[in-house]
Symmetry: C2
Subunit: 430 residues, 2 copies
């Protein structure tokens, strides 16, 4: 067996420490699969004294992560710092400039700066690997970018954020409101103290942007992703969805349409029988549809030290073996220039739920607005009778354009009898 591959790990939080732990625990079998041992020889973190549950003796310590890139004895840099800018970006840029392969779990960095980083890596001819950035331990990047390489991909859909999925699952299973379920997720460590990154859909949007880039072979374009989170999903809508045979999931969806690629993250109603509807709790899932392979579903843990480190070490094994894949599946010159489609041009079926005063003429007013916008209804359902009181009314539209629905909803919201902001959830035929 040859000389070990010398790896530096920058950032020793849960994930960074997890990488050290995996490489120690399974050293022998990883060496067999990599064709050579993989050894961490240098690390960087802010606090030197903290106990991270893994021995650090004998490893070169860097207070400044960027300095790792210049260490001539480091062959590969693993970036576990996080954040789209700051030291994570500086380190990845420096490592690529120094001609060193980089492995990162950093979805924000990839989503925001991935196009430029990919070009830099291509110029230097080094690997920039990021299996851990999307869907944790699920080999989704490898599965799609290499495993489905023969296919023109048509659609991708994923449950990409475990925090949101845990909250929505708790709301459904225990009839909780959003705020309660969030508090519970925070107590269990499934949501951060400041949860906005997860619950506002930003994290899922980072991951979707990356998945869409590799599936459709185009530079990552986070700015094109339409993003909505789950703050406005109510227990009532989850219950009504259940009664109609749907589940509400926060999905990231990328689709090849006639005029380009659409990418969006928002709460969706999916048929309760669809495989993705049953992916509950902190689990993630990715559905990919290709022209020859049909539909592939991959499911597993989307976060946590073990699954994330598993993905990072898989990238290290690829590098040790010399297995190389361009960042977005093909060299820049061969990437697909298909344009992005803005959300205003989305079309589909909508679930609209109003809270109205139960009195004659209200439904006529509401449906009149829809008619004026040429929106046709598949069904309308008033839940309960309470003359003069507030009752929920559900409207399910036929295939309709996003812009028309938005305009109509603004007018409906302004009606006297409509008591609060209407709920809008798109129905996805998965």
């Amino acid at each position: 067996m040859t000389r070990p591959l010398a790896v530096a790990v920058a950032g020793l939080g849960t994930v960074g420490a997890g990488v050290l732990s995996v490489l120690r625990t399974n050293a022998e079998l990883i060496a067999a699969r990599a064709g050579r041992p993989i050894a961490v020889t240098a690390v960087s973190a802010r606090e030197r004294s903290r106990d991270r549950g893994v021995p650090l003796a004998g490893l070169r310590w860097y207070d400044d992560p960027v300095a790792i890139a210049a260490d001539p004895a480091v062959e590969v840099v693993v970036e576990c710092i996080g954040g789209s800018d700051g030291p994570a970006k500086a380190l990845v840029e420096a490592a690529i400039a120094a001609g060193k392969p980089v492995v990162t779990a950093n979805k924000a960095l990839l989503a925001v700066h991935g196009a430029a980083l990919a070009r830099a890596a291509e110029v230097r001819g080094v690997a920039l690997a990021f299996e851990a950035a999307v869907a944790g331990g699920i080999p989704a990047i490898k599965g799609i970018r290499e495993g489905l390489a023969a296919n023109r991909m048509q659609r991708l859909a994923g449950i990409l954020n475990g925090t949101c999925n845990y909250i929505l699952t708790t709301m459904r299973e225990r009839g909780r409101e959003f705020a309660e379920a969030l508090a519970e997720a925070q107590k269990l460590g499934y949501a951060e103290a400041d949860p906005s990154f997860d619950i506002d859909g930003v994290d899922a949007a980072h991951k979707l942007a990356i998945l869409a880039a590799i599936a459709f072979g185009r530079p990552v374009d986070f700015s094109a992703v339409h993003v909505e989170g789950i703050r406005e999903v109510s227990a009532l809508d989850i219950k009504l969805a259940e009664e109609m045979g749907y589940r509400i999931k926060l999905l990231g969806i990328a689709k090849r349409e006639e005029s380009g690629i659409s990418t969006r993250v928002h709460p969706c109603m999916v048929p309760a029988g669809a495989p993705i509807a049953r992916v509950d709790g902190v689990f993630n899932a990715v559905v990919a549809e290709g022209d020859f392979v049909g539909r592939i579903v991959m499911e597993g843990r989307g976060a946590g030290a073990g699954p994330t480190a598993s993905a990072i070490v898989a990238d290290l094994v690829d590098i040790a073996r010399g297995r190389f894949t361009p960042v977005f599946g093909a060299e820049s010159a061969a990437l697909d220039p298909t344009p992005a489609i803005p959300m205003e041009r989305h079309a589909g079926c909508y679930y609209l739920r109003l809270m109205v005063v139960d009195r004659p003429g209200v439904i006529a007013d509401v449906t009149g607005v829809l008619r004026d916008h040429a929106i046709s209804l598949e069904s309308m359902l008033q839940r309960g009778r309470a003359p003069g009181e507030a009752v929920p009314v559900v409207l399910i539209t036929h295939d309709t354009g996003e812009a028309a629905v938005r305009h109509a909803l603004k007018q409906i919201e302004a009606l006297d009898a409509v008591l609060e902001k209407p709920a809008l959830i798109r129905i996805e035929p998965l």
Copy 2:
């Protein structure tokens, strides 16, 4: 872009013709992902005149597939002939001997001769790729062998044969008996005229042997796989399973136990809520459990021209890119010598279903035999009352050894009041 990779396809049945079709249809994007065009330049098949739906003009034709290996203009050989021996084996051996990478969809060949072929490929330093041999379009080989390379695998379970899964699904959904469901599958083209290879579990066992080899990093060992098919599964047992919250699936299961690796294919009762229980019809699924990643589930079409060709072309893209992985994930010298565990040493819970004469004393006789074999029961259920007539009796055991159950069942079968061969289905806690 560089010179095309010259590929020969031997065998132009559904799969071989599918490969030509995929390479034509998606030529441009495959070239982008492969870094160079992939061009079929030679083919071999028995009948020259048959219309296969793909143009063959300009391709060199070989009547003898083995001769392809000697064609100096062929760089990669794709074997789509099938069969564990005969021309498929001769061609793969000749291609490896000639130093040419081989891509094959041939699970029988890999399962039976894979250990020797892997050694030959290693000696010559060429790739022997077989993504299409297991689970059709699902990137299961790549997902496990590369994507989960950081993990010590603990268990694998899979629905690996679409024919059996279609038959079992039809039996459950429409209350059909096995023979009727088989006839229907044959009419729809989901089962062959001679279906024994599928329904007796041999095809699933070939695939399981291959999956176990790559997951546990050991040479493939088909002879160690315990194999039972679905001929004896009855509509009654499917109905009883459903009532108890289970579904009956033909699973291939490989497990790391204290003393070695067990591999078995047989009908299983799995909890109706398990992801794999909901994989119906001709779909396949693979569940893999690793020490760090936890449980990963992959699901998709397990057969058909499109999915199988998708997997073959993915292997070609790997070869074009120079991405190389040893056949069983590591070089021979680094493979795991863990022994195989025979089925007699299996332990688990069992569903036993008897057809007995409804009269006093019968249950005492049956449970007496179980007591004599130290088999303890979790539950016993007699369905209906019909004094003097035949009634089904279901026994669910606690954790029990296979050998004891087999001995006990033989004695129970010999009891006067037991009217037919008892049904035995193992319960799998997925």
